[in-house]
Symmetry: C2
Subunit: 218 residues, 2 copies
């Protein structure tokens, strides 16, 4: 973001409005602040919660944002007119737009997107590095396929996201590792009750809060 913003800032028309689609917002705000020397009123940080494992404009399609959410994270310095303009742009392509604090956005996305991607990349790499990897992948069933689909994401983009949202990601990984250690300890001590309880809580949360099979929000 930083080198692109350096170039953008030097050639803007006076009434230009700039937004972005990055998956981490605090780092973009810091980059634009560095490039413009302040948090400029014409910048509206944004993040559409849409897309698949493919990157690049060649994978775009007209319905990509329909019924998907777009989070905007305006700052006190943001011009309300610029904010309204970006909101309207997203609504025109069918998205549901809502505002969020920068830090809250970065925490929520670390949990729901960045952590799952790190886990999927790490799982596939962990298995691929084992000597039996050919046989291992050969017997991967449908659940494994869905579970690891996000490991087909663009490696460079995900490197950038990990670095851009580094602190929130490290915090949520640490929590996950502690929770995984608890489940592992329950397996080790043959604690069936603790396992059933954990798995049931997860199933209820998943079935209650996460519905639908498409990329649509609801």
């Amino acid at each position: 973001m930083a080198p692109i913003l350096d170039r953008v800032c030097s050639g803007l028309a006076p009434d230009a409005v700039v937004t972005d689609v990055g998956s981490a917002k605090a780092s973009v705000v810091a980059a634009v602040r560095a490039a413009a020397g302040r948090v400029p009123p014409w910048f509206v940080p944004g993040h559409p919660i849409a897309g698949a494992e493919h990157s690049g404009v060649e994978h775009s399609f007209a319905q990509l944002f329909e019924y998907h959410r777009v989070i905007l994270t305006p700052l006190p310095e943001t011009d309300p007119a610029a904010h309204a303009r970006v909101r309207e742009m997203w609504q025109l392509v069918g998205a549901e737009v809502l505002d969020m604090e920068v830090d809250h956005h970065d925490t929520v996305l670390a949990a729901t997107s960045h952590l799952p991607h790190v886990l999927a990349f790490c799982l596939v790499d962990s298995l691929a590095r084992r000597s039996e990897n050919e046989a291992i992948f050969e017997f991967a069933a449908g659940g494994f396929r869905d579970f690891t689909r996000i490991a087909s994401g663009d490696p460079v983009m995900w490197r950038d996201i990990c670095l851009a949202n580094r602190e929130a990601i490290l915090e949520i990984i640490a929590r996950f590792q502690a929770d995984l250690a608890e489940v592992t300890a329950a397996i080790a001590r043959r604690d069936g009750e603790a396992l059933t309880e954990t798995f049931r809580r997860a199933k209820v949360a998943r079935d209650t809060h996460v519905v639908g099979k498409s990329g649509a929000v609801r």
Copy 2:
């Protein structure tokens, strides 16, 4: 398995052949040995690599096993005629049948099925236990949905699998935790090169070895 095998063993016709569909095989072999007092020639341990997050006969359908693999793990004691009969049964419903050593089966399945399920259950539970869980799940996008679908599996069945294949699962979790700790350390020290390398290796392995979106093997 154990109480059911106790009942099965006492009422078998002399020419009966018995197989099973459990996701772990060493524990079934131990249970049948305990129930029959030996590894009986009429028992053919089996595992169809098919199914979804729903359990129970009411979720069965005629095409469930078509183009899916079934792994049989016959033992030196197994009657070749019993083995052939079970193989033919699976082939008749459209499955591709192959043989594997008991321990190899349990290692491969721990990696491709049991570990991903433990991670999915653990991730969803980890997020659900956070105070902001409502907001967190509200912003879960399509990738999260696919990634956590397997956390809708039956909690009691997965408890049983974790206990039945305990050692292989503990071993693969330990490896995964070590690999996740490496990735986490790379994020912490802002090592973009290490992250790109890991993510790229995973993407290549995933795109090469795991293709298709349905539950079909190929």
